[in-house]
């Protein structure tokens, strides 16, 4: 298992601990870990294809959270996206949602988060893992990952 899978598992553990101990800090860390699991899922996938193993960690550090979120994508036909386009759009939406939730969880102490917020973050991360892994080999998905890295279209 890589870092991404470990972080997702950590998110589940933290959520359970947060519930068992009614501990807000654990719930917040669970949401944050759920986001970072997806972040590293995408980054690991990108750098794994870089042929120089010794440079992969440095390459990974070039990813920028906001640039990843803002990478543009539009299906060929908005009214009728293909199954792969649909999966990629779901990944994009989930990534943005998780990133926003992570920011609130880490910085917004006024956020009255509830159990459903935590459950939804983990559920979104789990679904995103499945969806990304189903399309990761598709040209369209690889192109979008390159856009998330910062390449212009």
């Amino acid at each position: 298992m890589g870092l991404a899978d470990d972080l997702l598992e950590d998110a589940r553990h933290l959520a359970a601990k947060g519930d068992a101990e009614n501990r807000d800090s654990c719930r917040r860390r669970a949401i944050s870990s759920a986001y970072y699991s997806v972040f590293h899922l995408l980054v690991e996938d990108f750098v794994a294809n870089w042929p120089f193993a010794g440079q992969r960690a440095r390459l990974a550090r070039m990813f920028n959270h906001q640039r990843m979120r803002d990478a543009s994508f539009a299906p060929e036909d908005k009214r009728s996206p293909t199954p792969v386009e649909t999966q990629v759009m779901d990944v994009i939406t989930a990534f943005g949602q998780l990133q926003g939730d992570r920011h609130r969880a880490d910085y917004d102490t006024g956020w009255k988060l509830v159990g459903t917020d935590v459950a939804n973050a983990i559920s979104l991360a789990e679904t995103t893992f499945s969806k990304w892994r189903a399309v990761r080999g598709e040209k369209l998905a690889r192109d979008h990952l390159l856009s998330m890295f910062g390449a212009k279209r």
Partner: protein
């Protein structure tokens, strides 16, 4: 000052919300929304979705996914100039917190 077109298209947004609420009742109890800037300063639409306790506890993944897709099918968020955020809570959670924005 730049304002996204979503600001002037609130009747269409409300119509889409009404349709999703109707289609997904009774599990979706109500949907509220707000247009504003997110943590990064980007314009966003924040949907606040109240679910039945049963839906929130046992069918969250399925219902949340239907809400997200139901709204996305009817609202072209890039054209509206906003990024969509969807947050969910159960009736019981809202009753405990009593937040007006979710009422």
């Amino acid at each position: 000052m730049y304002l996204p077109s979503a600001v002037t298209k609130q009747p269409e947004i409300q119509a889409a919300i009404d349709a999703v609420e109707t289609n997904l009742a009774p599990e979706v109890v109500r949907i509220r929304y707000e247009i504003g800037e997110d943590w990064s300063g980007q314009w966003a639409i924040f949907f606040r979705v109240v679910l039945t306790d049963e839906a929130a506890k046992r069918r969250l993944r399925d219902v949340a996914s239907k809400v997200i897709w139901g709204l996305a099918r009817q609202l072209d968020f890039p054209a509206l100039g906003v990024f969509p955020y969807h947050n969910f809570r159960s009736v019981s959670e809202q009753e405990a917190l009593q937040e007006p924005a979710w009422a």
